[in-house]
Amino acid sequence: MVPLNYFLILAAILFCLGVIGFVMKRNLITMFMSIELMLNSVNLTFVAFSRHINVLSGQIFVFFVMVIAAAEAAVGLAIIVAFYRNRESLNVDEVDRMKL
């Protein structure tokens, strides 16, 4: 059986990759995908813990996280599409109407 720490370290690496992607990328869709990566690394953490301590609840949490992530994805894409229609661009640097 794979030890718990392997899963946790993998999840932590994925989470950090998501954070780095969010901070470094300029494309709205890519930033959004980075957030999804972060959420999925959390799912991995939940499942790993759930198996380790032999309690099912962690896996049920993952269902909720997935459904909420889907709702967030739908709303997020809709917002990005609305922005794109007005601006014809997906570059986050053009989200700049309100800089000081």
Binding site: M1, V2, P3, I60, F63, M66, V67, A70, A71, A73, A74, L77, A78, V81, R85
Partner: protein
Amino acid sequence: MLRSYLPILIQIILASLIGFGILGLSYLVGKHKPTPEKLMPYESGVRPTGSAHERFAVKFYLTAMLFILFDVEVIFLYPWAVIYRELRFFGFFEMLTFILVVLAGYVYIWKKGALDWNKN
């Protein structure tokens, strides 16, 4: 610990042997007479027009978003289905309520015309 991965390794080796083996065999044994028809992406399909890297209509996004929502909501049916017998009528009515809420959303998007492909 790595030992438990041995079957996977064996499967990878076997699968690649068979795959490359068959391809290599037909390359070595078969005849080669390329014609323009044979080199097309879809040999007897639709003739491709233009590049595949062009913009898609926003309609696709809308449909995709709606699909994601209704597709993922079904996830709650899985754990429910597993213990359906234990839950008996309670579980039935619980799921009925859930489906009704999803259905309300469906009626909403339908009436709003989000499913009407020709509507702009």
